[in-house]
Amino acid sequence: MTNHWVDMKNADAILIMGSNAAENHPVAFKWIMEAKTNRGAKIISVDPRYTRSSSKADIYAPMRSGTDIAFLGGIINYALTYGKYNAQYVRDCTNALCKVNAGFQTCRDVGHPGYFSGWGGTSYTTTTWDYQFDNAPTNTDISMATDLNDAACVFQKLKEQYSIYTPAMVEKICGTPQNKFLEICQAYVDGTMADNKSGTILYAMGWTQHTVGSQNIRAAAILQLLLGNVGVAGGGINALRGWHNVQGSTDHAILYHLITGYNPSPTNTASMQDLASYHTANTPATLDPDLGNPPVSLNWWSNRPRYVNSMLKAWWPNVDGANPAVPTNAYQYLPKRHKDLSHISLFEDMLDRTPDSPRTYNIDGLFVWGSNPAVMGPDTIRERTALNSLSWMVVCDIFHTETSDFWKYNPDGTLRSDGGSGQNTTVYLLPGAAFFEKSGSVTNSGRLAQWKDLGCAPPGGSDPAKDELDILNDLGAAIKLAYAGGGTVPAPVQNLNWPCDTVNLTGTLTEKVAKEIHGYFISGPNAYTPVGNFVGLATDGSTACGNWLFSGTYASGTGVPYTWTNKMASRTATETHPANIGIYANWGYAWPLNRRIIYNGASYYQGTGQPLAPDKWVIKWESGAWAAGGDVPDGMVDPTGTGRRYPFIMKTAGLANLMGIKALAEGPFPEHYEPKETPLTANPLTSGAGPLSNPVAYSYPGAAYAPPGSATYPIVCTTYRLTEHWHGGGLTRNLPTQAELMPEPFVEISEELAAIKGISNGANVIVSSARGSVTVKACVTKRFKPFVIDGATVHQVGMPWHWGYISSLTPPCTGASASVLTPHIGDANTRIPEYKAFMVDIALAP
């Protein structure tokens, strides 16, 4: 989230799309209702199904799953066509005025409908997806238009791209009635474009889990920027994340493509062959719209070497000679990745026992840390089958799960007839702790780290369940012991600072690790005292810091030496902001630097520091200083001075990108493409002349997909959660009240489809896709209505995905897993699976 939960109360309009906050983040819905009650905010729900959030909305519009870009593109076109955007914000804070490479063409170019310039038949050459520069060949000073009407500027390219996203086109693709669509445009665009108004967009996996997931978010960002809704109170791009610490596990880079704090993990290319090359390849050059004149482009990622070097010093502090020493050798201990290794690819590689280049070996061992892919993995039967190829697996959880006990079952979820005797994977099941049985920090969706005190110890006898921190600590120590006598390239293991410097850091083990994450000096007179925050991190090897984003969580003071102080444990529940916008600066600690609204340098008039919205100002400049009680300014110095900065400090040019510069695989602007599986055979946007589905999404050779317009699977299906259960059900299907409230899975179908199929409410039905089939109860409901898409009726159904074949309760809370139906296809940039739009058929069970 750019903003945070409490901030939703400041919004004047709230667009809930790709999420269902009332169901899945129910307590947060309080702040949405507060905006409605106190500010008269308009709540807008766009969803294929009339959800619990829809029931609280002022406006509800149905939309076929997988057509979000058509819908958002339609809103963007409305704003541009009628001049309903925040022109000053757009000029001052976005790249609207930047001139675009002369060779760039949008998807509206008649020569290549549906494609951007550079399409080569199977992939893009991205040379033209760039700016023009005034200082060739250095290319750091962007050529700027003086007028948004300049045909060469980003703004005009944006306008051209969305010119055909008319209300009629939206209706044709999404199935949304034009009058409903226009009602939403008016409520959201007209209602929030003014300087003193703001609108927030709340999304979740309903937007990300598509083959165009990243571009869905880009479309939302473009809309928010046009309306001046980023950086302000009650605005932002707000991902309502799932797990209570999925923000933290992302921040700490349990992801193949990252190391901690959103730095890229090294690849096996010459451009990252050593530390110096890595920094050259990954430290962006600063661009400036007006080089030599204020404002200044801060380009915060130019600090990347400080963060990466400090992480390496925390992990391998003593392998580069006496400190301070640049971690040149330590860098080579990091593995260099060779291909896409995301969730789907990981399971495809696990399944495929004939590796070929660039893969040399099979996956033989798997760690599963409190996760349940045997229920939630896409194309679940395929993933359960893949588990059978493992020689060993270690699962850490608090109950038996479908994953830990997969060896008792066939991939379709039926019990094996041999009891598992023919299944050869060695499995360890390590008992972990429930959330209240461990102390430590978790980071919520608003980037807020809160410290937990210990409720009680995990249960058990002489070898009891344990905090995962202790499990990892002991296991790591055992692995280090195994390597004490050598092995293949043993040095990265032998020299690992594990779990942290337990001699020089003090406190409980959790506190010591938290201190390493925060960072400290490792040499000089202040060795082992904390750094103040990440601004104090160095490239020369004098500082160690596990994750720069969290640097600031564990120190207080005004200068070196700082004092270790756990700010995540701060629980002063007092509003600190004079305008009562819900900052509560002393409740927990938000990264970065306890800033609650990021990009808050865009919340005031550039050049003056006076707030766009005086009644809900975030920061403001008064009498030569930032007004007391405001949020932590986002890299901002005197906004009236010559050193003033462009507001989007994480962007190389300091401006937010209406046009993405060589960022995403599909191109610089989102374009509507159908899901991989679609009821259509031609993309209505380009009357079939352009690509039907995402042309750069990767299809896995062995995976099954229904062809476009399949008569076998003619019904659109999506998946979602229920408030009573949690994700794969590994927790809640072991809790009596939750099992009683929601005992079994079901499929929601419209009354119209039920009539056609002869299905009555409560009947057992079979839902089938190209991957498999499940038998569940039918829930015949008015919440789904058939869509009319491009003149034809299209039905949609939906299923919750919480169930599987393991439950400790009597009777067991078990049932078919909806994810069995979902495809092994992912977003073209992230390969997040397309759980939210796929094709099925439905029939009465015999």
Binding site: K336, V368, S371, F436, T723, I832, P833
Partner: protein
């Protein structure tokens, strides 16, 4: 507190109607409250373990009859929190069940064998009391006239039931929780409990064997130090400090197949 949701719904529905007509006896409710003092002895502040709102919670823990150690018996939303202001959702409210559950009561049935300790609710005329089997046997053909005084026995066929005013003694550790490391060797048809020492040394040996056999040191001239044979998934349910250790340990081993629930 140990009153069940169903009890509560029944009481509130019945009392609402009964108070209107002035005929309902509130004594069982008062007796219930008197007999069910708070069931926790210490409190700690935590953060809910489900969604990412980050609701602050007060965790009540204490001992429970018949078991050693402390357990969580009660949770409530922390009213101090600026985020949730004391509120919790259905899952959050139920999260004490991750530690302890109240044993379910079945409804009395005729001609049925009962063990000592089993508890029933009357099939008819239920007004809130529970009946614990104190002498095993088989129930009679017709339902007994249930007593409404705590501790009073009633004979039913060959079973003796004792009237229980409260849930006391019915709270047990969640029986599904894992309380010891388990191992299932390849081809085995059941789990075997093992010690942590055995788990750690065996897993470390497997990690070393797989890593040593599947380690790629170079791609051409580039040092890559990559272990292709081990994958790691998950971690979003762990604390930050544990997530960090997963990344640190896996990267040190050279693991590149590293994922968690951000995508799935």
């Amino acid at each position: 507190m140990a009153i069940t949701r169903r009890d509560f719904l029944k009481y509130t529905a019945v009392t609402g109607a009964a108070l209107m007509f002035g005929v309902f006896d509130l004594k069982p409710i008062k007796a219930y409250a008197d007999a069910n003092p708070p069931v926790w002895t210490s409190e700690a502040i935590s953060v809910c373990g489900y969604c990412s709102v980050g609701c602050s919670m007060i965790i009540g823990s204490g001992t429970i009859a018949g078991y050693s150690g402390n357990y969580v018996t009660y949770v409530q939303g922390n009213p101090d929190s600026p985020i949730n202001k004391g509120a919790l959702c259905s899952k959050g409210h139920a999260s004490a069940q991750l530690s302890t559950v109240v044993v379910a009561y079945s409804t009395w049935k005729a001609n049925t064998a009962y063990r000592v300790g089993q508890c029933v609710l009357p099939a008819t005329n239920y007004i809130g009391w529970k009946y614990e089997c104190t002498t095993a046997g088989t129930s009679g053909a017709t339902e007994p006239i249930w007593p409404t005084t705590d501790g009073t026995p009633i004979t039913d066929g060959t079973v003796t039931w004792t009237c229980r005013v409260s849930d006391a003694g019915a709270r047990i550790p969640n029986p599904g929780r894992l309380t010891q490391p388990l191992k299932r060797a390849g081809g085995a048809t059941a789990w075997t409990p093992i010690t942590w020492a055995q788990a750690n040394s065996e897993i470390a040996a497997l990690v070393k064997a797989t890593r040593d056999a599947t380690f790629v040191t170079t791609d051409g001239t580039i040092t890559v130090n990559r272990c292709e044979g081990i994958a790691s998934i998950g971690g979003a349910a762990f604390n930050n400090e544990s997530c960090y250790l997963i990344t640190k340990l896996m990267r040190a081993l050279g693991v590149v197949y590293l994922e968690h629930q951000a995508r799935v």
